[in-house]
């Protein structure tokens, strides 16, 4: 992958707030459905499946997926792809506990790849907090936004 200095730059979105506007609660019932949909069973101690790090932060961040793509001047119908996803847990996620999300866009970089052609690489960070303000987890996600019109 290389930078695309000969192409127009992507929109400047670094720093865009992704702070959530609503609380998110993992219900025990939905946790059970999610666990079973992945071939597992829910924990008996009230902890939620750890993959809720992604689900909860995406659902309760301050923009929809389509809205975040639009902020990057990208049509969600053009197919954003997940590149990487990292998470650091400070504690287990629990069912029936309300959480809120804070976060921001870290960067949007235009690159050229042999496989995908021109693309924008979006990196954003989200944090999940309890109502006491403690941060339960931090996640950094990288999405690939193919720019077929610039290929």
């Amino acid at each position: 992958m290389s930078t695309a200095d000969d192409l127009p730059p992507p929109v400047a979105v670094a720093g865009l707030s992704l702070d959530g506007h609503r609380l998110y609660t993992i219900t025990a019932a939905q946790n059970a459905e999610l666990c079973r949909s992945t071939g597992g069973e829910p924990a008996v101690d009230g902890s939620a499946h750890p993959v809720y790090y992604y689900v909860a932060t995406q659902v309760a961040m301050g923009m929809t997926v389509a809205g975040l793509c639009a902020a990057c001047d990208f049509d969600v119908n053009d197919g954003p792809m997940m590149g990487t996803s990292e998470v650091q847990f400070a504690a287990s996620l629990m069912t029936d506990v309300p959480y809120r999300v804070s976060g921001e866009v870290l960067s949007l970089e235009r690159k050229r790849s042999r496989k995908l052609g021109v693309m924008d690489v979006l990196t954003y960070r989200l944090r999940l907090h309890g109502l006491d303000g403690d941060c339960v987890l931090t996640t950094d996600n990288v999405w690939i936004l193919p720019r077929k019109n610039l290929a």
């Binding site: 999610l34 949909s37 992945t38 992604y54 689900v55 197919g79 990487t84 998470v87």
Partner: protein
């Protein structure tokens, strides 16, 4: 159980990636992207003939492998790379391998492979094995 670096742990096998689960995940994620729920949409985009699993489900398979391999433990951190799509109806296998063992922590790498096509995701994770 004793854990040692280099040890390959029991795989978590999904014998059939269920398209109905993708419909559930569209609700969980509040993301109605049709490539996960409508084969016609996948075909129209030239992405094949099967619905495409949402990326976080693939992460969940790898997490399941870790949690089964280390009963009573929890995940401290995990970094996943999405290398290829996972499609409806296919068989995938998540296999953890221990990279290092330290007091209270075990570092692992995890592969997620399609039985048909090979590696589709990889991850590194640190497990907390004691309170």
């Amino acid at each position: 159980m004793t854990y040692i670096a280099g040890q390959v742990l029991p795989p978590f096998v999904v014998t059939r990636v269920d398209p109905e689960a993708m419909k559930e995940w569209a609700v969980f994620l509040e993301d109605p992207n049709p490539i996960h729920i409508d084969v016609a949409a996948v075909r129209a985009k030239g992405l094949g003939d099967r619905v495409i699993n949402q990326g976080p489900i693939n992460v969940a398979y790898m997490m399941n492998a870790l949690l089964r391999a280390f009963p009573g433990s929890r995940i401290k951190s995990m970094s996943t790379r999405f290398l290829d799509n996972v499609y409806g109806e296919e068989k995938v296998i998540a296999t953890p391998r221990i990279d290092a063992v330290a007091a209270g922590h075990i570092t692992c790498s995890i592969s997620l492979e399609s039985a048909e096509r090979g590696l589709v995701c990889s991850a590194d994770a640190v497990m907390i094995t004691s309170p």
